[in-house]
Every structure is written in structure tokens, then in C-alpha cells.
Amino acid sequence: MGGKFIIIIVVALFFIAFIQLMKIYQLADKVRGQKSQEKITRNENMMMANLMLVFMCLFFGFTIWLIFKYGANSGLYEAATVHGKEIDDLLMFNWYIILPVFFITNFLLFFFSWKYYHREERKATFISHNNKLEFFWTVIPAIALSFIVIYGIKTWNSIMYNTEEGQVVEIYAYQFGWRVRYAGEDNILGKADYKLVSTTNPLGVITDKNIKATYAEIDAEVRSIDSILNANIDPVTGDYLLPKSKVTKHKEKQERLKRRKYRIKSGIDKGPLNDSIYAAANDDFEDDLELRLIKDQPYTFKIRSQDVIHCPWFPHFRAQINAVPGMETNFKLTPTTTTAEMREKPEVIEHYNNLYDRHQQRIEEYNIVETEPFTGLFDYVLLCNKICGAGHSNMQMKVVVETQEEYDYNVTFKKSEKKIIQSKIADFESKLISFEEGDNSGTDSISLVCRGEVDLVKEELKTFSEFQDKDLNNLKEEIKLSLKVEHEIKVINEESNSDLSVKQNLSRLVDNSSILNKEEIYNYISSTNDESLKNEAVNYFQEIVQNSLNTFSNNLNDFKVKFELKSNEIQNKINTLVKQELNQNEENRLTLSAENTSSNTTNDKVTM
């Protein structure tokens, strides 16, 4: 309180002082001569004119400093796509025209203001117009602009009317993140409908399985609203305890869900999908963590949005187009530089080292705990470039560009692993569904319990498989590094000379060997010439390679065994649950109402 009071007093005093100063100033003016506020003195004119020049120099200096410090595409480097390079060329062409115009016209403005400042003895020259001159500076910009227009539209057309049908990838935007769907081997995306979007089917892809799963989910949601409403009824008066607006909201939502349910139901009633259009979805696969692209492979991005307008923006690719709910937009591009290649560029390394230092400085200064620490390595990113709400500034997805071989390893291998898991899950689900269809009385609660169980298992499997993926990745990195070292050592072996301290140093490093140190060792070996040492090193690394390969295959086997065990365990669990539930049903056939309330509570748990 005291602080605020002091501030108010200071401000008030400031204003009083200001008014007094102005009074004194005006009295002084009166003494000097009446209309001094209307007349700008010679000194003032000269000072302002000189300041014009000073300002111009500062302004130009500042701009030039910025141009040299940051320049065009600061921190983005040469475009990493085919069309991006065209855009960069066009941009530079434009800058070469624009910058001279900017400097010359600004210079003329400030220079003339300085040169022709007011002096009593001078008189301005009466020039009202000059048709020749005006014609001249209408035509010159017109000519310059026509070059810009022609070059610009040509580039635009070559980007937008690109007829090459590349690999199809769907980018799906939502508040606040991205999902991608690869079109798979047939290169056709399965059709999608927003009415089928659910937690199990985030993209709304139309398949028999998705339709049924979404149907079940909506069904559960309709019930959960009922139970929420029922749980909030005053037992005495029979009114809702919730505010009226909330009740209407719930009811409206329920109505909407019911409409959606009946629409889906009518689809289900027509029988399984037999159009080939829908079959295209079978080999599609989705990812919500990263977007993996192959170098030199043309891509067609098909872009959709779930809720509001977003805009996928790939700064390094010089690519963006809006994601508009209710319509599909397209963008075609061909990446030309892999992530690894970018990371090897000396200017990128230098820039990212600086970035890393600046980043760490900030982290330390403010004690920030990062969920994903910055590695200091270059990565392509996808970000959102159209205002979309509170999380707009953090809608990011990692983009990886790699060679065909790396892609095959990373995506296809993972995919096959995932497929095993997915087929298992599908197995459970089909059993569940057949169970639901076979029995109509009192089975809802069973199916819900089972479904909850399956969801849990799915979660578990997901984390399990992710864990495995990470392990495999590490192993892969290790093997790659070892192989690289091995190869290098072989090359170096061909030369020979002696060095004394090398051996000691190496042994120190080897003793301390972790994955990080290997790079150091490798560097060290590259710089030495001792032959025995090299032999030793070769042996050492061969051993590592062998070990790595062993762990790799062991882990793989381990994974498979664990997976079998886990899936059996789940199957057993479900079987027992189903049995229990059936028995109970039989026993409690007479006390059906009591059964219903219990099923409602389980229902809540599942949908929570």
C-alpha cells in the first residue's frame, strides 16, 4: 500500500513540476517575443535538418547491421526442398531490387530535408509539375514490377501446379498438436469422416472396425451422461442439482451424440463395407510423435483440421498452407537434405552450438526444468502458423528426413512390430464384439468391463512397445558407431609410426568406456600412428560390435517372449472376467435392478 501511495505522490509532483516549468518557459517566451511557438527559429531549423542526416545514418547503419547479423532466412539455411530453393532465389531477386530503392529514396528524402531547410534569405522554387519526370517514374517502377510479377507468378505456378503425384501423407491438425497418416503401399489414404472421430480413431478413418469401435464409444458416452444426470438428482424434489445451463448442455450433447449414433448405426446395418475405396485404409498407418520423410522423394501433403483453422508451417522447407476444417488442402514438396546432412554442415554446427549456449544460459538463469531438454542438434520442425487458441505457440512436431535405407529401418521395422501388437489387440476386440453380438441380455456390463480391461492392456502395451523402440534405437546407434569406428581403424592401419603416450591415454579412455566416450576414442585413434595400439583398438571395438549385436538379438527374443506372456495373461484375464460376469448374471437374474446400478458405476469408471 505504501509503495503505491509513494508512486501516486511522485507522479503528482511530476505533473506539478511540469506545469511550473511550462509556465516559466512561456514567460520567457513572452519576454523574447510574442509568437515564438509559431515561428521555428533558424537554429531550430538547422538543428532539425542536421538531425535528419544523423538519424538517416543511424537508421541505415542499424538496418545494415541487422542485414549482416541476421540476413535473409536467419537460422533456417538454404531451403531443404526443391521448391524452397526457387522461393529463396526469388526472394533474393526481390531484395536486390527493393534494397536499393529503399536506401536511395530514403536518402533523397532525408538529404533534401537537410539541404533545403528554411532560411529567411532563400525562397523556394515554384515547381508545380513536370509531366516528363512524372511519366518517367511511373514507367520505371512499372517495368521493374513487371519483372517481379512475371518471375513471381512463374514460381508460384510451378509450385502450385506441380502435377507430380508424390507419396501421400496426411497432416491432421487439432488444438494443439498434429497427427500424421502415411498412405502405405497403395499410396491411397483411406476415406475419413469427422463423425467417426473418437479416442480410438482420432482421424475418423472409415473402416468396419473403427465404425464399430466409435459406435461403442458413443454409446458409452450417451450412458455416462445419463449417469451423470441421474447422480445429480435431488432425491426429494426430483430436480437436478446441477445449474440449469449445465443440464441443457449435457442434454444437448446427448442429443447430438444420439443423432450421431443413429447415423453410424444405419451405416452398420447396411453390412460390412465392400467398396474398394474403404479398403485403402487397411495399409495406412498413423503417428502422432514425428513425421518421417525420405530424401528426394516427392510428397503430397493432404491437410485437414479437426476444429479451427491451423496452418502447418515447415520453415526449413519454405512450405505452409492452411488446415481448414471441412475441407482438404494440399501441398507438394520434395525434401532434398536429410537431417543428418544438415547436422554435418559446419555453419549449422556453429549456429546450433551458439543456440545451445544461449539456451543453457536462459535455463540456468531462470532455473527452468525442461520436459524435453534441448540437445543442441539440428532438427526439422513443423509448427502452427495460424492463431488457433491458447496452445498456438506450442504446436510442434518433429520432422525427420532420412535416406530410404534409414527410413526402411525406422518406419517399416517399427511398423511390423506394431503390427504384431495391433493384430493381438484386434484379436481380443473381435472376440469381444462377437461376444456382444451373440448375447443380448445383460451383457453390456460385461462388455464394458472387458473393454476397460482391454484399454488398460492397450496402454500397457503401448508403453511397453515404446520402451522397446527406444532400446532398439540405442542399440542401432551403437552398432552404427562401432561399425564406423571399425572401418576408420582399418583405414588408419595402413599407415604406421610410433607415439609413446598414446597407449596410456587410450587405456584411460577404454577403462571409462560408455557410449559417449566412444566418439572420443575414435577421434583419438584417428590422430595416432601406433600400430599395436591400433590393433588393440580394433579388437576392442570388434568385441563391442559383437556384444552389441548379441544384446540386440537377445533383447529382441526377450521382447517376443515377454509379449507372448503378456498377451496370454491378458487373454486369461479376460476369459475369467467374462466367466465371472456370466455366472453372476445367472445367479442374480432375479435382482436385476441392483445389477444395473453396479453396471452404471463401472460404466463411469471406464469412461473417465
Binding site: E38, L90, H118, I153, Y194, K253, R256, M327, K386
Partner: protein, 587 residues
């Protein structure tokens, strides 16, 4: 009219509040605009704090905005967008449209064309009070719990339709739309009044080619407004219906985070964008042209030299006005509209560069061989021309649809339009205030403070917006609550601090203006009849305002308003009402 015959005594209310007198209404517009402008720039300083120092806490934010918006001095991300949105809306509509056109069209049109008042004083009053209601509603929306509109000043649906997408799309957005509806009504009524006055109430001898360029600028501005604002109205009405009546003009296939899949199908948000930008682009020139018109007048007066290429200036304004209606698509190159349209809009947009270049060169040539008096108004005009050039050239890049792919919605755009539209217009507005202050209040503003104010403003303005071009070239998107989520932008941390410092200093520097302005209204030295030795008619009216502007006959006009330093004349100016001598050529 019977202005001269009976001067009935006016009550306080009819003189100062519900006045029909255009000069009083002009002052009301100006004061409202200054008030709104103070809010608008303060908001920008507040969100620049967050952008410059993303990890620091500023208790002042909590003091000013409340604990919902900035708990413990850390700005909430929804509120950040709210501040950005209101800053944009206030500056674009309330300061630079309502404030700029409203003040100076009202003040200068009757005075410079030689009319006793506006064609309809009553409509003029209604227009102001609609503007006032609209300003009040917009300001009030800052004080509600869920916050003001937060979808950016362009309020694209579906973000602006459902509260579940963003808290500001609830009551805040309703207030925004309501306020804009009043604003549009005000603009339309005002615009029609300006057009009618200019066409019908010119004094004897005042042909269209003898009009000062200010009047031409206001005339074209009013036409642009009258043609484009109705489209915004329809656009807003459709949005209101989507929000309240369950229609789906702009909505299709949408899944709300709370309500799930909505029923709306068949609409398209791109329709909204088309309707909005059909106003939105002319709006840029509605803002710019009055400033350029006043700049023409002041540069000529203070250079003691006729404006170079009077007819070319009118021609280029007409060309800009016409072209402004066929370029709106350049805001939408990347919405997924037909690429063919992209090419067409690139072409039409770049055409605007030609009349703009003509204008810029004409200004420079007017100063060339002039006798430039550095009044604060003239300083602001030079600044305004400079920003018009500096911001205009980068427009060439954004007009290019292919380049837009890499620049769209980055800070490059922010830098560009703030310089070319924001700074040019605001510097032009300041120039107008300093120049016509003696006409408005009969007092003089302090020149030295004006000079300091100018240098502080232009240095800070360029200091803020030139670096933004480089942020944009580095791919940094606009409207990001914090840039630190992407370590790849960390090399801009220090640049952002610099921008924020310039912005804060620039905002604080406006205090100089506020103090000068309000002090001079009450205590400034009394102005003489024609302090700047200007030619146009307004300086023939008495310093003390009278109803009907001229106590006697309205002077007849014999010449154009730019006879400065005419050869063979003793004085370096010849006012418009002085008849031509026998041997004198017109110009």
C-alpha cells in the same frame, strides 16, 4: 440556413456533448481516439514485456489486468492473445479509422471546402455517439472475467464461434461484434455525410480541381468506407448467426473439445475470410489515405512550395482506391483457394506499387528546392513519408504469392504492416494534430516538446519494426505467446529484448505528447489567425470558433491551394480567396 440571423444561447449539453457543430464533433472524436489510443499502445507495451522477457514476472501486469489475466505477474496465454486482439482492433478501427478520419474529416471538410457545417449536423452527431458507444463497449470487454475477444483482430471462425475453443470467444467476442456493429453504423453515417458535404457544399469557385489534397483523400476514404463496411456488417451478422442461431455459414465438420462432433456441415470458414478481407484491404487505405492527404498539405505548406504533381496525386489516390477493392485475396494466398486466383491477386496487388511509388516520388520532389520549415508537423510528415517508403517496399515481397509461402503470418508481416500502415498513419495523424491544433483549440502546442516527441517516436518505431522483418525471415510466426518452446528461435532472444525496450520507451515517450496536448488546450499561448502561413480556407476563419464558421460571407475561391513561393509575389503564399491578377497564370 439562418446561422447569421439568430445566435441563441447554447446550453452546456448542446454545446459540448450533443453538439451538431462539426468542430466540436471533431474534437470529441479526437479525444475519444486519444483515450482509445492510450489503451491500445499500453496493451502493446504489456504484451511486449512477455515477448521480451518470457521468463520474468511483472507484478504490474497483475495490478493492471487482474489475477485472472496475469497470476503472479505471469501473463496467461489466453490473455496474451486477448491483448494482441484488442491492440489490433483498437489501433486499426478506433484510432486510425474512427480517430483519424472522424477527427480530420469533420474538422477540415467544411472548413476547407467553405461550408457552414456538415450536410447534416444531426447525422454527424449520431455518428459520433455511435462511435462513442462502440469505443465504450470495446473498452469494457477488457474488464470481463473470461477476457476480451482473443481470436486476433481478424476473428477468423471457427475459433471465434465457440467458447470452448478459447475463453475469449464467449462474452468477449459478443461484445466485440456488438461494438463493431455500432462502429460500422457510425462509419457509414459519417462517410455518407462527408461525401455529400464535399459534393454539394463547396463554396463558390471551389471546383473539384481546386480542392486541397486533404479533401480528396477524405473523399476517396469515405467512398471506400461506404462501399466496404456493409460487407463487414454482413460478415459479422453471419458470424453472429453461427454463434447464436445454430446456422453454419462458416462451419463444417468440426469437433469441439467439449461438445464433440457438431452438427454443422456445408459451411466454409474461407467464406468469412473473403467477406472480411473485402473490407479488410480497403480498410488499409481507409487508414492510410487521410494520413497521406494531410501529409501532402503539410509538406507543401511547410516547404513553401506547391505540392508536386497535384493531378498525379489525385490520380494516384483514385488508382489506389480502385485497386484496393481487387487485391483482398493477397491475405489469403495460403488458405487453399484456387492457385489461379493467387496469380491474379499477385498481379493486382503489385499494381498498387505504381501509384504508391508516384506518391512517394512526388513528396520527395515537393521538398526538393523547397524552403523547409521544421515545424513538429513537418517533422512528422517527413517521418511519415519515410515509413511509407520503408514499409511499402517490403510489401512487394508479401504481395508475391510465391514468397508469401515463406513469409506469411511471420513477424515479417507484422513489421511490414506496422511500418507502412501503422506508423505512416499514426505519424500522419500526429502531423495533423500538431498542424491543426491552433484551428481546433485556438492555442499553440509547444514546439520543442513536439520535436522531442517526433524523434522519440520515429527512433522507437523503426527500432521496433525493422528488426521484426528479420525475425520473420527467420521463420518466427506471429501471435506466439512465447517463442521459447522452440530452441531454434533462441538466437532471437536478445533481439526480442531490444524490440521490447524500444517499444516500452516508445510508449512512454507518448506521455510527452499527452502532456503537451492537454496542457496546451488550457494554457497554451493563443494562436494567431494563420500561424503556418497556409493558403487553404480554414485559416480565414476566426481563431475563436463561431457557429457557421465564417462570421460574414463565405469567401469565394479563385485559385488552387498550393500557390506557395509563386514568382512575382511578394509574400511566399497566396491564399485561395485572393483573386488572380490579370497577368497571372493559374499554375
Amino acid at each position: 440556413m439562418s446561422h447569421d440571423t439568430h445566435h441563441h444561447k447554447e446550453s452546456f449539453i448542446s454545446k459540448y456533448i450533443f453538439s451538431h457543430d462539426h468542430k466540436m464533433i471533431a474534437k470529441q472524436y479526437l479525444l475519444t481516439a486519444i483515450f482509445m489510443g492510450a489503451i491500445g499502445i499500453t496493451l502493446s507495451a504489456l504484451f511486449r514485456l512477455k515477448l521480451g522477457w518470457p521468463d520474468d514476472k511483472f507484478p504490474i501486469l497483475e495490478t493492471l489486468l487482474g489475477s485472472d489475466a496475469a497470476p503472479e505477474g505471469l501473463l496467461n496465454s489466453n490473455w496474451y492473445l486477448g491483448l494482441v486482439t484488442l491492440h489490433g482492433t483498437i489501433m486499426v478501427f478506433f484510432v486510425l479509422t474512427g480517430g483519424l478520419s472522424g477527427t480530420f474529416s469533420n474538422l477540415l471538410i467544411p472548413l476547407q471546402v467553405g461550408a457552414r457545417d456538415m450536410a447534416s449536423g444531426l447525422l454527424n452527431m449520431i455518428a459520433y455517439w455511435l462511435f462513442f458507444i462502440s469505443s465504450a463497449l470495446m473498452a469494457v470487454s477488457l474488464f470481463i472475467e473470461t477476457g476480451p475477444a482473443m481470436a486476433g483482430w481478424t476473428i477468423y471462425p471457427p475459433l471465434s464461434v465457440l467458447e470452448e475453443f478459447q475463453s475469449g470467444s464467449g462474452l468477449g467476442m459478443t461484445l466485440w461484434l456488438l461494438s463493431m456493429t455500432f462502429f460500422i453504423a457510425s462509419s457509414l453515417i459519417g462517410g455518407i455525410n462527408y461525401i455529400v458535404t464535399i459534393l454539394n457544399l463547396r463554396t463558390k469557385g471551389m471546383s473539384m480541381t481546386k480542392l486541397p489534397l486533404t479533401i480528396w483523400a477524405f473523399f476517396i476514404t469515405a467512398i471506400l468506407g461506404v462501399l466496404s463496411f456493409p460487407v463487414l456488417l454482413s460478415c459479422a451478422v453471419l458470424l453472429l448467426m453461427d454463434r447464436g442461431l445454430g446456422t453454419s455459414f462458416y462451419m463444417s465438420d468440426i469437433i469441439g473439445p467439449e461438445s464433440g462432433a457438431l452438427d454443422a456441415t456445408g459451411g466454409n470458414p474461407i467464406l468469412y475470410e473473403h467477406l472480411f478481407w473485402f473490407l479488410g484491404h480497403p480498410e488499409v487505405y481507409i487508414i492510410l489515405l487521410p494520413a497521406l492527404g494531410m501529409t501532402s498539405e503539410i509538406i507543401s505548406t511547410c516547404s513553401r512550395k506547391p505540392i508536386f504533381g497535384y493531378r498525379a496525386m489525385i490520380g494516384s489516390m483514385l488508382a489506389i482506391g480502385f485497386l484496393s477493392f481487387i487485391v483482398w485475396g493477397h491475405h489469403m494466398f495460403l488458405t487453399g483457394m484456387n492457385p489461379f486466383l493467387g496469380g491474379v491477386f499477385t498481379f493486382t496487388t503489385l499494381l498498387i506499387a505504381i501509384p504508391s511509388a508516384v506518391k512517394a516520388f512526388n513528396y520527395i520532389t515537393t521538398i526538393y528546392k523547397g524552403n523547409v520549415i521544421m515545424t513538429p508537423a513537418m517533422l512528422f510528415c517527413i517521418g511519415s513519408v519515410s515509413t511509407f517508403i520503408s514499409g511499402g517496399v517490403t510489401g512487394i515481397i508479401l504481395a508475391d504469392s510465391a514468397l508469401d509461402i515463406s513469409q506469411h503470418d511471420t513477424y515479417f508481416v507484422v513489421g511490414h504492416f506496422h511500418i507502412v500502415m501503422g506508423m505512416t498513419a499514426i505519424l500522419g495523424m500526429f502531423a495533423g494534430i500538431y498542424h491543426w491544433f491552433p484551428k481546433m483549440y485556438g492555442k499553440m502546442m509547444n514546439k520543442r516538446m513536439g520535436m522531442v516527441h517526433f524523434w522519440a517516436t520515429i527512433v522507437c518505431g523503426y527500432g521496433v519494426f525493422i528488426p521484426m522483418h528479420f525475425l520473420g525471415e527467420g521463420g518466427l510466426p506471429r501471435r506466439y505467446y512465447e517463442n521459447t518452446n522452440f530452441p531454434m528461435f533462441d538466437h532471437f532472444l536478445d533481439l526480442n529484448v531490444m524490440i521490447s525496450i524500444f517499444a516500452t520507451v516508445g510508449v512512454i515517450a507518448q506521455v510527452i505528447f499527452f502532456m503537451n496536448f492537454f496542457y496546451s488546450i488550457f494554457r497554451g499561448p493563443v494562436a494567431s489567425l494563420n500561424p503556418w502561413k497556409s493558403n487553404s480556407l480554414e485559416w480565414t476563419t476566426p481563431v475563436e470558433h463561431v457557429h457557421g464558421n465564417w462570421p460574414g460571407e463565405i469567401p469565394t475561391v479563385h485559385r488552387w491551394p498550393y500557390d506557395y513561393s509563386k514568382p512575382g509575389k511578394e509574400e511566399d503564399f497566396v491564399p485561395q480567396h485572393i483573386p488572380l491578377t490579370d497577368d497571372e497564370e493559374e499554375h
